[in-house]
Symmetry: C2
């Protein structure tokens, strides 16, 4: 289900984390340095982001690097595209109607 992904994006702190990860992969310590909250809180956010497949974690010694997972954004993009296509079609239908009413 993509519910975990949508939910992960619902929190502003988590979206900020994703933006930061766009610049560079970061450890929990790196991330929590940028926020006025404990590492435990950041860890929870990272767990939610991982559950939503928006990030991946790779261990390196005692550090664990969090990195963006581009593929994780696909469900969101797909969901949006449903509406985009819908509006495209509706626009096309409107065009057809107009052309039938007043053929040029």
């Amino acid at each position: 289900m993509s519910q975990t992904t949508f939910r992960a994006l619902g929190d502003p702190t988590r979206r900020a984390i994703l933006t930061m990860l766009a610049d560079q992969d970061m450890t929990i310590g790196d991330v929590s340095d940028q926020f006025d909250m404990t590492r435990a809180a950041v860890k929870k956010h990272l767990t939610v982001l991982e559950a939503g497949h928006l990030i991946t974690v790779r261990a390196q010694g005692r550090e664990r690097y969090n990195a963006l997972n581009p593929d994780g954004f696909a469900p969101i993009r797909d969901w949006l595209s449903f509406f985009d296509h819908f509006w495209d079609d509706r626009l096309a239908n409107l065009k057809d109607v107009l052309e039938k009413e007043d053929p040029s």
Copy 2:
């Protein structure tokens, strides 16, 4: 802020409502007929969707029709496009590096 928009999309019931509204504008009664929950609960969801500018409401007699607001999806699309562009650029940079290492 687009936080209200992201938050609105975080709930599966609200996303289902949006999908239903793609087919046709609906009153609260229409919507709540489709879910196993009270009208009051549906009303709350619609309020959140309206706060996120994802729907608009127009009164018609004693009925109030809820309709999709295509423009409301823009913040989400824009936010996603930031990452899309980022990955495009990163891919381009990678290509540059490869071409420099092994000029064809």
